[in-house]
Amino acid sequence: MGYQPFYITNYEQDSGLENYFESFLLPEKAFPVLEDAYCWRGRVSRRQGFFLLGRLRRNLVNTALTVTGVGNYANPDVLTSVRTTIAPVISEAYAELEIGSVVITINRGLGTQTIYTDNIATPGVLTMTPGGTYTISSGSVTYCAGFPPTSPISLTFTVAPGAGATVDINCAYYPALPVMGIRSYERENINIEQTIVFDQKYAYSWDYGNNRFNELTVAGTTWQGGNDKLFWTTNYWQAGANNIFWACNFNPQPLLPGFGDPIRYYDGTTWTTFNPAIDALGGLLQQCRALLPFKGRLFAFNTWEGVSLDTSVNFPRRIRYSAVGQNPTILATSWLTTPGAGGFFDIPTDEDIVSVESLKDVILVKCERSSYKLVYTGNQTDPAIYQKINTVFGAQSTFSLVPFDDGVFAIGSLGITTDDTTSVERIDVKIPDQVFNIQTHPEKAYGIRDFVKELVYWAFTDKNLHQNPTSDIFNNQVLVFNYRNESFAKFNDSYTAFGYFQVQNPDYGFYPASVIPNETNVAAGNQQGFVGLVQKKAAPQSVLNDESLAITNVAPTGGGGAVILTVPNHNFTATGQYWVRIDGIVGTGPNNPSSLNYDATTNPVMYHVQNENSAINFGLERWNQNTYVFDNVQLGFGGTYLGGGRVTVVQNFDIKTKVFSPFYEQGQQLRAGYVDFLTDTTTYSPDPTESGQCACFEYINEGPVAINNSNVANTSSGIMGNNTVLTSAENIALIPQQANQAKIWHRFYLPTIEQNFQLELLMTNQQMSSQIINDNDYVLHAMTLYVNPTGRMIQ
């Protein structure tokens, strides 16, 4: 009997990540493992790369440094003023100077004023601007190095200024703090929303002219919440010609007087502290979990109230509202608890209000384990009443709520649910256990809807990836929900916040072609202040991420040990597998650390991360295909790291099929012949080891080890060919037309006899070691299994 073909395609219904059933009971288009790939419009598509907009940065203007002494000048850390704040006020411990931005001035404003600058072309070197008085034989700047990091400068004079000369610095620098919010400020013109990004301390906006972030206001309004104090914002009311943008981070800190943050609003120019009077006794609204306009009023949820921020008291179930139709920024009257004006009421529960969202003509209020809705009454004394929707399902993550027309998704402690104002139901029945892995810091989970790709992303902390947490844990995975076909997937990304980013007339010299003008592109920020667009890398390098982590130190090790990189809050764990590319290292001396930088010709190496248990450091290793082990990447002593190093996380993907057991019903084993994969055509190379490809591991009889795993030494020569599955043209000489095909059927042979088999599509260590290979897209449209029954089932 010939092989019987089983054609599987249109990965739409009953597809995606699914763990409800045992793997052999899953639908044929479902995947028990689906990471960094997702089912989308009938295909299984590899996750596209993260496009970096920029790193959150701010400027220091004429910031005084220590004056000169006798002889040469050396300053051990020009960023000491932003680093040395005493905890818990936010310290910018890992702040880094921006290369090419450093301007040192001696005797500013005097006739002897002398200016020294660095340069992108020759980073690390300070040169005197012509016309200065105090000439130098050499000058150096370190952007960020060591642990704890510092940014020293030195000037060796040939004409010294003598003791007491003033020194100041103008520069841009990266505070290197986690992104705590990417929010949209509804500007006055149609279709223009300004993206305002928060880290723990500052607010920033995007400079469309220079394609970089700047601090939003020159005055430098700061916040000081912890790295779980995400920013809630809303747009309501108008001040003059400008709309008002409200922001709160639920950081009152009553136990640490002076360290709390108030509610603030931004009118397009300045931030204003907002603490309106709520009663005649001097009580003020100091903080709240959320703000939302509703029927001519601004509502505050889960409030902190008191005469001062430091003495305020939390009312976790309180809903406070302003007077109808009144400017809510009028502190004295708009929020006074007065019949017919402002007021409040408490939901009758012991749970905290965690989040809220508007849906149709009501506001959904999500408590920890229950859901309510606010319904407008039209009664100015009691403008809204609450109605309970569900007594089990609430929300544990304020920012996990994602609104749709017919419901609001939320991550609760017992399930991922949709709330349509009358009922709350789980939408995660395909992955019922996943919600219980959103742990350790469930309050950090963050969701957003991608209208272009018709996906929902939830960044969350997967406790399985943090077996041995050693410091702060940031979201380390993204749960992806395709709301068209109701399929799930996971991405291995570390994002602390999502938001929307809009650009009217993109300069495609900077933006990728996938950025749509005026569209709500999904932006994400991470724990080091890198902000970019999700899944927006464009061909031909559509898969490789942009850089997303900064290196603060490179430490050589002797004795054959691996070079150690200091990357604070890298968020890697020993449980995961991480590949990285290193770029941008500025260094000097013999054994220059810059030798680790990627170079397509001289150092085309993707590194594997080792010893990532430390939250600060990790080592580098590279794959040895001859010995099937990772070799330490070594760096000799003698070099000096000056900063600039960047880490690009290189994602693999993992598509694991169900356990195929087509002849269980007939009580027979199967002989598997081959599998045909229909994939998008990728890059062709005459060298088959550099063409677009992935690998297909085959597991038989539900064994734990793939029979053709080329990541381990395998002496068996019984396997015909190898585990490579090309996605490119297979042989231009024999099949010349293939290179022009949009899709190609690729045959993969798996001549085995077994009870069942399972396939896993991914990249091997060898393939991950090559950017030429791992930067190829993978889009699976269909697969055909060729099998026939053979032999009795029992072995």
Binding site: G2, P688, M720, T724, E730, N731
Partner: protein
């Protein structure tokens, strides 16, 4: 444009037939293995092509009766056989051969006498030279490997022709057998070793006697148990008179000649040889292209190799689809041999009458 037929052409055709265009699906090395497997072991049996029918010849050694047939290089052989140019008798029947050339053992009583010890005994046999034993072919005690001779075979599996025996104190036989001198080097020698017949090893260290087949001198003999004083020590052997061999027997992939050669003679007969296998990884320039022995075989080799790939993959459907094409190629390739033979008349006893019916012309040297 050159005519196709190189190893590269064959590989490409295999890739097309099997739908494995890329080395990731099957490597060139693996394809070459399938091509060579079909070429050497299938094709050579499916078609006995005229091109593979060759003369096989070897040289005799004085006093060596048995010669290995290189079965790794040749498939089969057939009469006539010529020894020193004389057409001789070639049979595959030991019965016929030994009826013509009876190899009766001569029992020589009491070539030595026990002295109450296990030995050492030194003595000689009277009728010489003595027919040596010979090594086994196929593999056995005296096969050689790249690292040296295999010497661990037990004595029970060697082909001995000399037996030395005695009775112990309990009347139990103690026997030594010879190895034909092949044990140490794998080739014949005029001096052989004697082993206890129940020895588990026949390496040099297990030898308990030496025999010179030419002089009949047997020395350094020791028995596993003592030979009581006065007990006879007997020898059985086959004496012979060496001369030009006139008969040959092909048996166990060996050629046995009789009479035993008294000097070097050229022995030749027809044989079907295996084709020459392709070498992998030497087909790219500057190495010259590799062709099959007959260039016209290239398509057949591609279909044959593909057939095996289908079989190994359990792809019987493809195998059945392509099998007619394989058979078509077999017929086409066979056509050359058929046409070549077509002009050959069937031989009769009159065929070789040359008009010069005297020695050495014509049938049986003019004997008819």
């Amino acid at each position: 444009m050159t005519a196709p037929g190189t190893l590269v052409d064959i590989r490409n055709k295999v890739r097309r037939i099997t739908g494995r265009p890329n080395p990731a699906q099957i490597s060139d090395l693996q394809i070459d293995q399938y091509i060579n497997t079909y070429y050497l072991y299938d094709l050579s049996e499916q078609l006995r092509l005229e091109s593979f029918r060759v003369n096989y010849q070897f040289m005799t050694n004085a006093n060596q009766p048995v010669y290995d047939f290189p079965k790794e290089l040749y498939l089969t052989n057939m009469p006539p056989i010529y020894v020193g140019g004389y057409q001789s008798y070639l049979t595959q029947s030991r019965e016929n051969f030994f009826r013509i050339n009876p190899q009766l053992n001569l029992l020589q009583q009491q070539v030595a006498t026990g002295n109450g010890t296990t030995g050492i005994y030194n003595f000689g046999v009277t009728n010489t030279p003595v027919m040596p034993g010979f090594k086994r072919n196929p593999p056995g005690a005296y096969m050689t490997t790249p690292t040296g001779p295999i010497t661990s075979a037990p004595a029970s599996v060697i082909n001995w022709n000399v037996v030395v025996s005695a009775l112990d104190v309990n009347g139990q036989s103690m026997t030594l057998v010879d190895d034909g001198g092949c044990q140490a080097t794998g080739v014949h020698a005029n001096t052989g070793l004697l082993f206890w017949s129940d020895a588990l090893d026949t390496d040099l260290g297990s030898a308990h006697g030496i025999i010179n087949y030419i002089t009949g001198r047997i020395t350094q003999v020791s028995f596993p148990r003592l030979v009581p004083a006065g007990n006879p020590i007997n020898a059985q052997y086959i004496p012979y008179v060496a001369s030009r061999p006139q008969t040959a027997c092909f048996y166990q992939d060996q050629i046995i000649l009789y009479p035993v050669p008294d000097q070097a003679y050229t022995v030749s007969f027809e044989a079907f040889k295996y084709p020459t296998a392709f070498l992998s990884n030497v087909d790219a320039p500057p190495n010259p292209a590799q062709y099959p022995q007959l260039q016209e075989l290239w398509q057949l080799l591609a279909f044959g190799a593909s057939d095996k790939i289908f079989a190994d993959n359990g792809d019987l459907e493809s195998l059945n689809k392509f099998r007619p094409l394989l058979e078509e190629q077999l017929k086409l390739v066979q056509r050359r041999t058929i046409v070549q033979y077509t002009s050959e008349r069937a031989a009769t006893i009159y065929t070789e009458q040359s008009g010069l019916p005297q020695y050495p012309f014509g049938n049986l040297f003019g004997g008819f």
